[in-house]
Subunit: 499 residues, 2 copies
Amino acid sequence: MNNAGKPMEESLDPENWELYRDTGYQMVDDMLAFLKDIRSQPVWTKPPSNVRAFLQEELPRGGRPLPDVYRDFLKNILPYRKGNIHPRYFSWVEGTGSFSGALADFLASSMNSNLGIGDHSAVYVEQQVLNWCKQIVGYPSSSAGAFTSGGSVANITALIVARNAFDKKQIRKRGLKGLEAQLVVYCSTETHNCIFKAVETIGVGTDNLRKIPVDEKMEIDLTLLRNQIDIDKKNGLIPFCLVGNAGTVNTGAVDPLSEMAEICRKEKMWFHVDGAIGALLNILPEYQKILKPMTEADSIAFDLHKWLYTNYDAGCVLIRDGESSRSAFIQEANYLAAHERGLAAGPESFSNFGLELSRPFRSLKIWMSLQEHGIDKYERLIRQNIKQAYYTGDRIKQSPDLELLTPVSLNIVCFRFNPGDLPESVLNELNKELMMRLQEKGIAAPSYTFIHRRYAIRMSITNHRTITADLEAIIENTIILGRQIIKENEKYGTYSPAL
Amino acid sequence: MNNAGKPMEESLDPENWELYRDTGYQMVDDMLAFLKDIRSQPVWTKPPSNVRAFLQEELPRGGRPLPDVYRDFLKNILPYRKGNIHPRYFSWVEGTGSFSGALADFLASSMNSNLGIGDHSAVYVEQQVLNWCKQIVGYPSSSAGAFTSGGSVANITALIVARNAFDKKQIRKRGLKGLEAQLVVYCSTETHNCIFKAVETIGVGTDNLRKIPVDEKMEIDLTLLRNQIDIDKKNGLIPFCLVGNAGTVNTGAVDPLSEMAEICRKEKMWFHVDGAIGALLNILPEYQKILKPMTEADSIAFDLHKWLYTNYDAGCVLIRDGESSRSAFIQEANYLAAHERGLAAGPESFSNFGLELSRPFRSLKIWMSLQEHGIDKYERLIRQNIKQAYYTGDRIKQSPDLELLTPVSLNIVCFRFNPGDLPESVLNELNKELMMRLQEKGIAAPSYTFIHRRYAIRMSITNHRTITADLEAIIENTIILGRQIIKENEKYGTYSPAL
C-alpha cells in the first residue's frame, strides 16, 4: 500500500465535458416533453419480464458512455414508473412533484452538500424552510425539528424525542429496563402503522400500545380513551404518550385534538400529532379552526411531498419545545466539535435534532417551489383537490351503479361499484378485480382499503395535475369495467368468488 | 367545503413549457461550467451576513418567475456551498458526487417515484443495486436490507434489527421493560457516535454501552473486551451485541473482525459492523483479506456517498439473515395489503426492511454511475485515494515543519504544523488557527480531531477530483500559514493561547 510514487490521476469527471452538455440538454428536452404530455400516457404499465430480467444483470465491471446508459433508462426504467406524476394517479397518499422541483434537485445534487454539519448556505436554506413549516402548522419559532426522508421517520423521530424527554432525560443513559413502571402509548385504531413501528423502535412494545376504537366519524373515542388511561394507571402502568391524527390515512378523519391536548395536560403525557395527511391544510383558513389545537401538541410529523406536491423526499418533524428536541439527540465527538470560525462554525448541527448526521439538501426544491409559486397558490391547489374530492363524491352519489362507502373527508373518496343485488363477498371480489383493471389498463390508479369489511376503491387526490375531466374518466370507466366484469361472469352463470 | 360546482383547474406545471426549457438548458450550462472549473474556485467561502439575512426572509405569499428564483440561487446559495465537490476538500468523510450523478438525480426527481410499495421499475433498480452492494461487501444473496439516508440511519436500523431479533422476536411486542435482564452493547472507544445514538434509540441506554479501550493501532482491545463480557455476565447482564469498525472515523483503523465474530458466535451475540469508512474497500483485492471477516457479521452499515463518490444521499444497511431483517419491521395494514396484480403487486415493500415507508429513488444515480464507469474504475479510484494519503504522509515526514500524528491508515492523514520548541498547548492553538485559515482562505478544507489530546489537522481523501498538485498545495500552504501565524505572535513576544 505504501507507495511513495506519484499517484495516478483518474476521476469521474468527463474527459469531454461538451458531450455531457448534449446529454444534459437531451435529458431536459425529454423530461419536459414527458411531463408536458403525461396525461396522454398510461397511468401505470407493469414492468414486463424482459425489463425485470434486464434489471437483474450483474454488477458491471467496465463502463460505457453515459448516452448508452441513458438510453437504457428511457427504454427500461422511465416507462414502468410508479405513475404518481400522472393526473389520474390517486393511490395511497402520494404527491405529484413538479418539473421545477426536478430542476431544483439537479441543482441540489450538483452542489452535493451534506447538511449534517458546517457553516454553508444549504444549512441556512434548510433552517429558513423549517421556519416556514413552523409558521404553516402554527408552531412557535422556538420550536425545533428537522427534515426527514418521509412521514414514517418523522413520526418515529417524534416518539424518540417523547421517550427521551421522559424521566428527566435519564432514559437515554439508563434505557427502558430500569424504569419503575411500563410506559404506555395511546392512539386510535385508524392510526398509520408507522406509529406501531415507532412504538416498537423506542422499545415500549406494541403490547403497550393501546389502539382505541373510533366513533362513526372514524375519530378516536374519547370516553374509551379516558377509561383505558384510568385502567392502565390503576394497574401501575405509566400513560406517557398520546398520538392524535390530523387526517387519518384511510378516511382523512381528524381526531378531537383539543380534547386530546387537554387529556395530555391533565395526565402529563406527551401529545404527538401525525399530520402526514392534514397538517398542511392549516394554510386554508376554513381548516384552521379544526386544526388549531394541533399547535398544542408537543410534536408534529408531516411531509411536504404530499400536499405541497414536493418531489420526494421531504418529510418533516417539529418539536414544540426546542430544548427537548435537542436533548433527545445531542452527542459529543472530537471530530464534530464546533469551531468559532471556518467550515465547522455556523449553526448547530442538524444531527442534534434527529437520527441523521449525513443528510442531503432536501429543502432546496421546497425553497425554490415556494419562491416560484408562493404559498397562496398552494392554498388554492389544496382547496382545489378537496373540491375535486367532494365533486367526485357527488358524482358517485348521482350514479346508481356506484356507492360512496364513507362521506368524503378532506381529499379522500372511498367508493365501490355496486349495481345492487350482489352479495357482499361478490362485491368485494368484483371491486378488487375492477380496481386492478383500472390500473392495468392504465386508465387511473386509485388504491383500496376496507371500510367495515367492505372492499373500497379509494381515491386520494393529492395531485396538482388533476382536472375535472380526469375525475369524470375514472367514474365513467369504473362503471364500464364493473359492468364488463359482471357480464364476463354471467357467462359462467354465477358470481364466482374467484373472478 | 361541499361545493358541487366544477373545481378550478390550476397546477404547478408551466404555462409556457418553452421558457422552462431555456431555464433547464441554462442550469445544465451553469452547473457544467461550475464543476468543470471547480479547482480554480475557493474550496469554501463563508456565507456573508447579507446572504444569511436573505435566507431569513418570510414565507413568500406570491410567486415569481423561476429564472428570478434561479438568479437568487446563483447569487446567494451556490457560492457559499459546503465545498465537498472541490478537489482540495478533505473534511470529515464526505464524498464528492459527480455531474452524471446530478443528472441522474434530475431524472429520478422527474420520475418522482416513491419506493415504499408497488410494482414499478424503480423498485427493481433498487433491488438490483442492493444486490450489487451485497456482492461488494461479500454478503450472500439471501441477505436483506435497504438504502437509507446515510450511515447513521443505516447503523441505527441494524441495531433495531439486532434488538428485535433478540428474545425470539417477542421484544417488538413486549418492549425492553419486561426483559429478564439488562441488554449490553460493546464497541471500541473509537466508534462513531451514531452507535451511541443507536443504543439510545433502541432503549438500551448508554449506561449499558461498554466503550472498550483501543490498543496502539486504535483497534479494540480484545482482552479488555472479553473481560468486560465476563464481568457483565457475572453481574447478571446480557451481552447481546458487539459493534466492530471496518475503518474508524478518526484514523481508519479496522478492528480485529475475525476474533470479534468468534466472540459473538461463542457468546451468542449479534455482530454488527460499522463499515461507513471501510466496507467498500472490499472491492480492492489487497484489502479483501483484512475485510473478509466482515462477511461473518450479522449486519453491516455503510454509505455509497463516501467511497463510491455518489451524490447525497446513499446510505445502506444489510442484514445477513434476510428473515431477521424482515421480521424486525413488517407491519400489517389494510391500505398496504398486496394484490396479485396491478400497482400493489410486485416485490415485498421496502418498508419491511427499515424505518421508512415513503422513500425516494436513491439508487438511480448509483445504478447509472456504476453502468457508466464500471466497478473496476471505482477500485482504481479508491486505490488512488489511498495512495494519495500515503503520498501525503511521506511528504509530511520529509518536511521538518510538519509532524505526522498517527501512521497513515486507509485514506486518513492526521498531522500538525510543528516547527519544534513549542509547548503542546500552543501547538494546539496554533494548529486550530491554521486549520481555520486554510478554510477561510479557500485554500483547502481539511478537518480536525484530537489524537492523544493533540489537535490534529485531519485529511480524509474521499475525492475522485484530487490530484497530486492538490496535495502539494495543502502541504505547502500549511507551512506558509504556520510560519505566518508564528510571526504574527512573535510581535507580541509570546505564544499567547488566545491567538
